[in-house]
Symmetry: C2
Subunit: 343 residues, 2 copies
DNA sequence: GTTTCTTGCGTGAGCGTTCCCAGTATTATG
DNA sequence: CATAATACTGGGAACGCTCACGCAAGAAAC
């Protein structure tokens, strides 16, 4: 249409073309695009019109070649943690993350893998500036990856308290301890006195903290029979742990499980053992996932603000992007006991 | 620690530096990096050594600036479809996708949004070459986005059969029709003769096909009482639909629901109505999600190969990337009836 | 021994930005 | 009216890479 006299190999307009259209120079258009104030209002208008007319959009590659920023953050999901992954947890966090990033011009790059291969790839991507920072979710407590990244000065945000924290890496977590404590206290307040815990894996902060919360709630209580069995957050492990508990205390009248899945398994075992829930045994789970809504009776459970965790993760990362080198405090989010039929 | 003795202006080694180290030229190193054969084995070795020594990694921005490829694909998730999102569906598809993409050098870019704003952003990203292609999951059947993208020649892969298919856009879907049909037939074969359907929304292919499967299974059967009520895949809608059905046929002895959530709702209502599952009424759901495993009794359900759907989506996209303009047939994946206690 | 391929390699020209410095016009100041 | 300060703007250089050419040297053909 407009006879620029030049054969365009590619369709997209460039800065230079916008400049020609607006009758100014490349530099000026760049200033407009990047919101510099040193532009007169008249040229500003002219340039904006040209941009609209041509439908100009900056070329990301060219820009990041010179700025050395990519405006992309990496989300790393350890796929080995399959059960965590399947819960609404993942979806919720991702949604929160996306929501917060959408307010900025940051892109989300997703990566799923596990083991050494993953670690290498992540280190490369971050170390070589292919992404500006990384959010890591659901990795094992002793993973050395976050520390490594922090050491090379990369912005990092973690979901879940890291297991060994020699180096301070910013993280967000639910208040697992308080959540477990309030659940256990609720059981006690309802008159239960033989309260068992089905604990999660003790090499993950969540597993540890939830058990600690249970213990803390019962610390100064007398006349409470405690029994603890361990699982791995999975449903089968919950069934086993429950059987274990019943063997050790057939009179148990309450169960606090470290996950909904474990609680669901426990309820199944209890039913088979002829125990009624909640009449004979009260059960509380953790996560407030879909399964909690669909057990019979529906399960009382400790809810984590999953979506909020996502937004906080994003904020943590954005702050580091904006103020490099600033050290950030962990963000601990409150949990909520959702009461349903099982306790 | 290691005294490199060089003031790190940028840190990362460039092609030129590798070339200097290996005693060859930029171009040759580029050839090696890109696997061109026109390199003698001796120089090949020399260059590779230099690359290892310096830890060279190609600069993505620079490369994509000239090649006009980004080696990135966009995954678009319509967040309005919250229930779909919460199911293991999303996680499974994403995992399959990631798994397949990991075999290539493609990155996954995640975007969640909805409505017009989303559509614009996606169009921009794709249209301006910020990504090489897009995978769209869980959007409403009548979304014009996929067609638009196909029209501008962008590689696209869809999850779920598009509603209006004037333009052929490659997609993968579970065989909803066959799945629903086999579930319904199973109910018939077990001697049920008053078989109700709790249908999903009729503006989505999945909703339509599953109902069609039910109808098809019963088509030539005589002496079968049919009753259909509609919902939106959600649990509450399942409860309502079930009540509706009971009102119209209190003697109903089987229910095929278009989703697990609806089936779970139905089971709850049936229990309240004093019906035993499966003795009085058999129930089958669709999706084989977590809730199916945790109802009481556990739910018989039609399973979709979610992860496989992810890998197939990736393959569809990769093929288009490799052979631009080639039109691809839809991929329909088989479902499987998972038998549990409810039918 | 000259000519013609073939194979391997080096080099210049961009890709579309941003950054910076040097202008030019405009306005304030003496 | 001259000079200094200010406000905008233009254009060169660079970011790190790929690609198309072109040249050198050895192999094959005459």
């Amino acid at each position: 249409m407009t006879s620029l006299g030049r054969v365009r190999t590619t369709g997209r307009p460039t800065l230079e073309q916008v400049a020609a259209e607006a009758g100014v120079s490349r530099g000026t258009v760049s200033r407009v695009v990047n919101g510099s104030l040193e532009v007169s209002t008249t040229t500003l208008r002219a340039v904006q019109d040209a941009i609209d007319k041509l439908g100009y959009v900056p070329n990301h590659a060219a820009r990041s070649l010179v700025t050395r920023r990519t405006d992309t953050v990496l989300l790393v999901v350890s796929e080995s943690e399959a059960r965590v992954f399947d819960e609404p947890f993942f979806a919720g966090v991702v949604r929160g993350l996306g929501q917060e990033l959408a307010k900025t011009n940051l892109q989300l790059n997703l990566m799923m893998a596990s083991g050494a291969r993953q670690r290498d790839r992540v280190e490369q991507l971050v170390g070589n500036g292919h992404v500006d920072g990384a959010v890591l979710i659901s990795l094992h407590g002793d993973d050395p990856l976050p520390r490594k990244l922090v050491e090379v000065g990369a912005p990092v945000a973690l979901n879940g308290r890291p297991f060994s924290s020699e180096v301070a890496v910013p993280f967000v977590d639910a208040d697992n301890l308080a959540g477990a404590k309030s659940a256990t206290e609720y059981l006690y307040q309802s008159g239960r006195r033989r309260i068992a815990a089905l604990a999660g894996p003790q090499d993950m902060a969540a597993g540890i903290d939830r058990l600690a919360g249970y213990r803390s709630a019962l610390k100064s209580r007398r006349g409470v029979t405690r029994v603890v069995a361990q699982g791995d957050f999975g449903q089968v492990s919950g069934e086993q742990a429950m059987r274990d508990v019943l063997e050790r205390d057939s009179e148990v009248d309450a169960v606090f499980a470290a996950s909904d899945l474990m609680a669901a398994g426990a309820m199944r075992v209890l039913r088979e053992a002829g125990k009624r829930v909640p009449e004979d045994v009260a059960v509380i789970g953790f996560d407030d996932s879909d399964v909690a809504r669909n057990t019979e009776p529906a399960m009382t459970s400790v809810a984590q603000p999953v979506q909020r965790m996502g937004t906080e993760l994003a904020k943590l990362l954005i702050t580091q992007l904006e103020e490099p080198g600033r050290s950030l405090d962990p963000v601990i989010l409150p949990t909520e006991l959702v009461r349903r039929g099982s306790a």
